[in-house]
Amino acid sequence: MDIDDTTLNAWFDGELAGEQAAAVEAHLRENPDLGARVRLWRADRDALRAQVDTVLLEAVPDRLTQTVWQAPARRRVGFLAAGFALFVLGGATGAALLAGLEALRPTVQAEGGEWLQRAAVAHAVYVPEKRHPVEVSIEQNQDGHLARWLTKRLDVPVKLFDLQPQGFDLVGGRLLPDARGPSAQLMYQNEAGQRVTVYLRKPDTGPADPASAAFRYERQGELGLFYWVEGQGAAATGYALVGTLPREQLLALAEAIYRQGGGGAAAAK
C-alpha cells in the first residue's frame, strides 16, 4: 500500500492508532529511505524543542505578571446580607460554620450572579448538619415526590441526578427561601462521608447568553464551585455544584450532571 506524506506526518505526530499506525510502521520497515526521513524529522523536532525550551527557564517579565494582577479586584457585594441570613437561620452549627464563611469572604464574588454566592452559603450551612441535612430524604421519595415538588416550586425542571458512577449517592433535597424566588439544593454523599451539593434556580441575570453556557470554576478557600446555565430564556436554569473535592473530581461530577441535565442542547460547547 502507498503511504502519502500527510499520513506519514500524522503517524509521526502520534495521530494514528491501531491498524492505521501498524500500516505506516509496516511501510516504514519496507522503505528504509522513508525511515531515514523520519529520523531527520525527529532530530529537527528535538533540536527545535531544546532550543525554544530555554525560554521556559527565563524569569517572566514583571510587566506580564502585573498585567494579570493589575486589573481591578472584584466587588464584595451582598456578603453582609448573607451573613445576616445565617444568624436568622439559628446558628445551629455555630462558630465552625462562621469560621468557614469567614474564609469565603475575601473571594466570594458577585459576578456569577448572586445565586452563586447563595449556593456557597447554602452549602456551608447544610453540609455539616448531621440530623437534618435535607428536608426531604431519598427514603421519603418513593413516588418521585421530591423532584415533582421542587419542579413545581422552582418553576424549572428539577431532576435527581444519578452520580453513583462517580461514587456519590443522593441524600435528598430541600427548598431554599430566597429574596428573588425559591431555589433548591440536592445533597450527595460518598462512602467516605464527603458531601457535595447541587444548587439550582432560575438565573437572576435574565435570559442566558451563549457565553453563560460555559462551565465556570471558582475556588473559595476550601470550597470549589462549578457553575453554568442551561437552556434559554424562560427555561434557563442555573446550576452550581459545590464541594471541597479536588477540581478534577468536581469537574467529573459537574459533567455527569450536565449530561443528565436535559437542557444540554442549548449549552453548546
Binding site: D5, T6, L8, N9, A10, D13, G14, E15, R37, L40, W41, D44, R45, D46, A47, L48, R49, A50, Q51, V52, D53, T54, V55, L56, L57, E58, V60, P61, R63, L64, T65, T67, V68, W69, A71, P72, A73, R74, R75, T107, Q109, A110, E111, T205, G206, D209, A211, S212, A214, F215, R216, Y217, E218, R219, F226, L251, E255, K269
Partner: protein
C-alpha cells in the same frame, strides 16, 4: 455577546491559571515572532484580551489552547496593521533571517550550527506553516487542538504540518523550498 457589566472582573482562580500559562505562551510567541520584545508584547496583548473576555473561557477546555487562539488572533491583527503601514513585511522570504533566540541554550554537546540554522530556517517558513509546526512539534498539541487554536479545519492542519516539515528540511539541506504560502481554508470562527 456577553452581558456582564463592565464592573465584573476576572476571578482570582482564573488569573492564577493565566499566570501559570505565561511561560509556555512566551515560548510559543518567541518562536513565532522571534524578536523577544515583540514576542512579549504579543503575550501581553493576549493576556489583556483574556482578562476582558475571561467569562468566555470554558473550564473544560485547556487554557493554553485558548490562550494560543487569542495570541494567534492578536498576531494576525498585528501583521495586518504592519502591512497597512507598509513598514515591514514580516514574512518576506527574502528578508534576512533574524534569530533572537538564545543560541547558547539547548542540549549541551548538540551541534550549535544545526540549531542556529534550524531557528533561522523556521523563520523563513510561511507563518501559517510555522504556527502549525510549532504547536504540534513544540507545544505537543494534537491536530484537533491545533485546529481549535488556529480556527482552521483539521485537514488544513495536516497539510500545513506536512508542507512545513518538508520545507524546513529542504531549507536545512540547503535547498529553497517551493514558495507555497497558501493558508488553506478561511478561518471558521474567531473567538476574540
Amino acid at each position: 455577546m456577553p452581558r456582564y457589566p463592565p464592573t465584573v472582573h476576572a476571578p482570582v482562580a482564573f488569573r492564577q491559571q493565566l499566570v501559570g500559562v505565561i511561560p509556555r505562551l512566551r515560548r510559543y510567541a518567541r518562536s513565532l515572532v522571534s524578536d523577544p520584545g515583540a514576542a512579549d508584547d504579543l503575550v501581553q496583548v493576549a493576556l489583556e484580551r483574556a482578562l476582558t473576555h475571561w467569562h468566555q473561557f470554558d473550564q473544560r477546555r485547556d487554557i493554553l489552547v485558548w490562550m494560543v487562539s487569542i495570541a494567534h488572533n492578536a498576531h494576525v491583527d498585528e501583521r495586518r496593521r504592519s502591512a497597512r503601514m507598509s513598514l515591514v513585511e514580516p514574512d518576506d522570504p527574502d528578508a534576512p533571517p533574524h534569530d533572537h533566540l538564545d543560541r547558547r541554550g539547548g542540549v549541551p554537546g548538540a551541534d550549535v550550527g544545526l540549531r542556529i540554522d534550524l531557528v533561522a530556517a523556521l523563520q523563513r517558513l510561511p507563518v501559517e506553516q510555522r504556527e502549525a509546526l510549532l504547536l504540534v512539534g513544540v507545544e505537543q498539541f494534537s491536530y484537533a487542538e491545533c485546529a481549535e487554536a488556529l480556527a482552521i479545519p483539521i485537514g488544513t492542519v495536516m497539510s500545513r504540518v506536512s508542507r512545513g516539515r518538508a520545507a524546513l528540511r529542504e531549507l536545512l539541506d540547503g535547498r529553497v523550498p517551493a514558495t507555497d504560502s497558501t493558508s488553506g481554508a478561511p478561518a471558521l470562527r474567531r473567538v476574540i
